[in-house]
């Protein structure tokens, strides 16, 4: 126990400042009013859905939960059921074998809800393309608010996308 405590003390706090939102990642016009987003921004529950990825994007979503990025300090946490979620974080391409499961997960998520598509594949620019077994982009199956490219996008990029989705769009948009 002594060694464990010493290791914690020695490590200290390594969490870095959170990135800013990035409006260029937005796919749809803001779908929610300011009041709701303000509320979401303080506490956001995310359900992750791997809809057919190579698992590369999952590695970076895990990394976003590490102490360097510390998503939870922003009130953002991953939950075990779509029924508890405000946002779906979806990696793809959406395989046709996951198409129905993704649709059902979306339907099981209570309104108001947000969808963030992760990675080149989720954005429809991935190497697998569209074929007999792949629907391609997440937006080919469910509505997507924000999409972040990258193979895979790094944790800061994923955080930026999540924050963009919960940020009220600039006036005049």
């Amino acid at each position: 126990m002594y060694r464990l405590l010493r290791q914690i003390a020695k490590t200290g706090i390594i969490t870095e400042p959170a990135p800013q939102s990035d409006e260029s990642l937005r796919q749809l016009e803001q779908r929610m009013d300011e009041a709701i987003l303000k509320h979401f921004g303080r506490s956001l529950a995310i359900r992750h859905v791997d809809a057919g990825s190579c698992n590369g994007c999952e590695l970076e979503i895990h990394a976003a939960n590490s102490a360097y990025y510390n998503l939870e300090r922003l009130g953002i946490k991953f939950v075990a059921s779509p029924r508890h979620a405000d946002m779906l974080l979806v990696t793809g391409p959406v395989s046709r074998n996951m198409e129905e499961a993704l649709r059902r997960t979306y339907e099981a998520t209570p309104e108001p809800k947000l969808v963030v598509a992760i990675g080149d594949c989720g954005c429809g620019k991935g190497i697998f393309g569209e074929n007999y077994a792949s629907c391609g982009a997440v937006s080919n199956v469910i509505p997507v608010d924000v999409a972040v490219p990258g193979c895979p996008p790094d944790p800061a990029a994923i955080m930026r996308a999540i924050l963009t989705a919960v940020t009220t769009a600039a006036k005049g948009r």
Partner: protein, 472 residues
Amino acid sequence: MRESTRAQGAPGGGYALHLALAPPAGLLWLSVPLAREDPGYPSIADLYPCASRMQRAAYDLLGIHARDSADHRKWLRHGAWPDGAFPLRKDFDIASRFAQADDGYAFVKVEGEGVHEIPVGPVHAGIIEPGHFRFSIVGEKILRLEERLGYTHKGIEKRFETMTLEEGARLAGRVSGDSTVAYAWAWAMAVEGATGTEPPPRATALRGVLLELERIANHLGDLGYLGNDVALSFGFFQFWRLKEDLLRLNAALFGHRYLMDRIVPGGVSVDLPREAAARLLEQLEQLEAEVATLKSIYDEHAGAQDRFIMTGQVTPELAERLDLTGFAGRASGMWHDLRVDHAVAPYALAQPAIATHTRGDVAARVSVRFDEVAESVRLIRVFLRELPAGEIRVPLAASPGGRRGVGWVEGWRGEVLIALETADANRIHRAHPHDPSWQNWPLLEHAVMGNIVPDFPLINKSFNLSYSGQDL
């Protein structure tokens, strides 16, 4: 003996079944021509139980039957294409789209007093790949687990056939993202073999460095999650700090956090200058010391050890009978490691030490992972000390179609195999990437028997098998 099977449409319009077997002497590639009408072959699942799912997948994709097989259910096919349509046949258009049909999969029913079922997935409760697990339980204990995979099938093998040998490297590196280096190397090895290209010695040494960095990063991540799964979140935060440090170093030195697309046919795409190598060695020295500290904390943590020891056991007898592979195999007394058994450059000179255990439980897999991290650090030191000078990449030799190549690499999870047949103009006629998860998924069903349901995530993570790698 470990194996991979795949049937294919032969150039003459008929079919052939290809088996890759791994007897002690090396790799044996058997090709069996099959009849054009109603192609079939005798099942080998009674000799090699892990072949059963491969045979089912070969039927789903090619319509090749394993006669006398005990299990004829579909495997990779769900509702996206009908029985009678076979995507890997040459007359099947990759862009074909069929209406979704009901999956209608017949799970094995377990009946009896007090037995009930818990269906889990395909969407899981954590940040994990999709798959379905059907638990039959009595009280808290797991009586039986049945896996249903194939959810991430995205037509990878068919996609290969639209590419050149060089383009295929990027796709191979995305069969299972966590093993991108192992796949890229196996791909390069297969392409180089088929075209008669010799990668320069500096490139092979750097490939060794990249593969060991991938092994370290994955073991660190899983050691962290194994702590997390026994309520030692300290372990998660510490190991993921070390992993993140390593990923950032990867990005700084090689230009990609997971080292994707760094190994290419003909060599590597990025060099490691002397000062960068020094920086790598310096950080590895710190990492080694930190991992040693964390190991002593894990070893002495009574709560963690209580959960690790005798949980999710695969005995050496069972591992031998069902062909458990990779580090999980080594934790169950299987003395196999391609880096040792069939060492290619740069491993031959470095003489890797094999890490093994015989108890085959979560604790044994944790122990092997710790040992492998330490050994990987040592190997990288040796590779960098002996790093040959010279170029890092040569152009691919042009080759006629119909050539074959094999890549066989000990990735962090286990042996990754690529079987390749070329077409004219350096294009791909057929490619089959084989993930070690094919062999190990069925063992997970055995490992959980008699354990309590809440220990499933822990046992699962201790293997950490790839869904995408076997779903293709």
